[in-house]
């Protein structure tokens, strides 16, 4: 999708792929036949640049036919290059400007609590996104209000748009920040599918607290020459690179 549409963010999609697969595969209580089911779990992909992998996951989960993935970033289609809800069943919220998903997810979690509903809210965030102050407004609010039906998964691939996170605005001590804000925290290998499943199936991490899952991931995961390279935040793979990448993923 990214190669043929010549868009960016292949690295950001690959680091999130296992997390999305686990969520749709075994965690989320959703019904692809009833995307608006009132008691569904809500998944918000706040790192809206991870659009191709999100649409692929939504399609694989059965919310829309796989053929629709051809609309990605194409004139006349509905699958924009940043996660878009309009005309895309299964996508709760459009994102693309960072720092919007968590406040909205927090409002959904609060509404669920107030109405004593059983559904849960999951928000997928990037590490660079944690620079946005709006997230910390919501993190304070959710901790104060003990929203234990809210879980964030942070795709901590250590690279943001221009450079490594540690060289831009360091997040460490990252887990301690959430603890201090009244959240339950867990650090997992974001590519260890069974560890992710164990963690996400057993939220809240601590009763009476929102949960922050810091998923240590590798930007460009699965393609050796893309891994941990700032380059692959923006660069689309050329045709020959795509073939090489697919061969490598297939062999692994």
């Amino acid at each position: 999708m990214i190669s043929s549409a010549k868009t960016s963010h292949i690295g950001s999609c690959l680091s999130l792929a296992d997390i999305l697969a686990v969520l749709y595969g075994s965690v989320l209580r959703v019904d692809p036949a009833l995307p608006e089911w009132p008691d569904r779990d809500r998944l918000i992909v706040s790192k809206g640049h991870a659009a191709a992998v999100t649409y692929a996951a939504v399609a694989e989960a059965g919310f829309m036919p796989l053929e629709r993935l051809g609309e990605y970033a194409r004139n006349g289609g509905q699958l924009y290059g940043h996660v878009t809800h309009a005309g895309v069943p299964g996508v709760e919220m459009s994102n693309g400007s960072l720092g919007h998903g968590l406040p909205v997810g927090t409002g959904m979690a609060l509404a669920g609590k107030r109405d004593r509903r059983s559904w849960r809210v999951f928000v997928l965030m990037s590490d660079g996104e944690c620079d946005e102050g709006s997230n910390w407004e919501a993190i304070m609010f959710a901790g104060h209000h003990k929203l234990d039906n809210l879980t964030i998964v942070i795709d901590y691939n250590k690279i943001q748009s221009l450079d490594f996170v540690a060289k831009t605005i360091g997040l460490e001590p990252f887990a301690d920040k959430f603890t201090a804000f009244g959240w339950g925290v867990c650090e997992v290998d974001g590519h260890d599918v069974s560890a992710l499943r164990r963690t996400l199936e057993s939220v809240p991490i601590e009763p009476g607290k929102p949960s922050a899952v810091i998923a240590h991931t590798i930007k460009g995961k699965g393609v050796s020459w893309m891994e941990n390279k700032v380059l692959w935040h923006y660069r689309p793979p050329a045709e020959d690179e795509l073939a090489k990448a697919l061969a490598e993923v297939a062999a692994s």
Binding site: V104, G107, G112, S134, F141
Partner: protein, 313 residues
């Protein structure tokens, strides 16, 4: 207007448990009764306007009708992108309420002067923009935006504005209220300038002029038909608003009139000059500096119409 709004919201929340109020740690002596009577429908988001709007959107997408409440620019400009992307793009049932608009918080400082909010809010797709002209319109406007399924911006003044309407008018979003019929000139007012426009209209009528007065409480969607009629049936159109002359009511009316074919009325926008106030003053004082008191408005209008009507000031 503030009081009329919160009283109306209290009544609506009594009847409809979906109606919620999210405040940005503002509303002292205004919101207490709502919070006490409807604890499950009330949230104080703290001093965090971006999260206030995000929370409201999340609640609205979960089936609630959510009012956000803050003063002047804090609840609109500070969180503008949240209003654009999260409220408007998702057509979330969120009603953004700002109090103290225009120069209502005059001597508190330029930070508290809301003079571009209408221009900015009305530029957003899916947004309905309402600026009630008196406490009666504030009450009716509050009910109307609850009945509307989708985003709205409700622009309020402060407490204590005069009641302008003698009786409760028919209030329909997007339809101007004709308060006075006339064929010489038209005054189109929104928000707090309605009372001034009403008095100006009476003065001009005493001088023998036939004055049309429209309360344009909804600036988006705009009552285009009423503007076209005013522009073709009367010779002068004056817009009056406590907002910058750029992009607000005056700008919106100018857009309609500029595209009309054939002869049309002369338009003059009366509002705030688009600049930061350089001196301290309360609302009344600052409005007089902008020519928005009765005397100032009359001074603007008279020379324009004098040639046509030999009006002696």
């Amino acid at each position: 207007m503030r009081t009329a709004f919160i009283e109306a919201l209290n009544e609506l929340a009594d009847k409809d448990p979906r109606v919620c109020l999210v405040v940005g740690d503002l509303g002292y002596s205004v919101i207490e009764e709502f919070a006490d009577k409807h604890p499950d429908q009330f949230v104080n988001a703290g001093v965090a306007e971006q999260n206030m709007i995000g929370l409201a959107v999340g609640m609205a997408l979960s089936g609630k009708v959510v009012f956000t409440y803050s003063i002047a620019n804090f609840g609109t400009l500070r969180c503008l992108e949240q209003i654009r992307n999260d409220v408007c793009y998702h057509r979330a049932n969120v009603k953004v309420v700002a109090v103290g608009c225009g120069l209502a918080y005059g001597n508190l400082g330029v930070t508290h002067h809301a003079s571009e909010d209408v221009a900015i809010m009305r530029a957003l797709p899916n947004m309905t923009v309402v600026a009630p002209g008196d406490p009666i319109e504030a009450r009716l406007g509050t009910r109307a935006v609850v009945a509307l399924d989708g985003p709205a911006y409700l622009r309020l003044g402060r407490a204590g504005e005069p009641v302008v309407h003698a009786d409760e008018p028919a209030f329909v979003l997007g339809r101007a209220i004709t308060m006075r019929e006339g064929s010489d000139l038209t005054l189109i007012a929104s928000g707090s300038m309605l009372a001034t426009a009403d008095r100006i209209a009476a003065q001009l009528a005493e001088k023998g002029l036939s004055v049309r007065l429209l309360s344009m409480h909804t600036i988006k969607p705009l009552d285009r038909e009423a503007i076209v009629r005013a522009a073709t049936e009367t010779r002068f159109v004056f817009t009056l608003e406590e907002h910058s002359i750029e992009g607000g009511l005056g700008g919106a009316v100018a857009e309609v009139m500029a595209e009309l074919d054939g002869s049309r009325a002369l338009l003059k926008r009366i509002g705030l000059r688009p600049q930061f106030n350089a001196v301290v003053g309360d609302q009344k004082y600052l409005k007089s500096l902008h020519g928005l008191d009765e005397e100032g408005v009359m001074k603007t209008i008279q020379p324009i119409i004098a040639g046509s009507y030999r009006l002696v000031g």
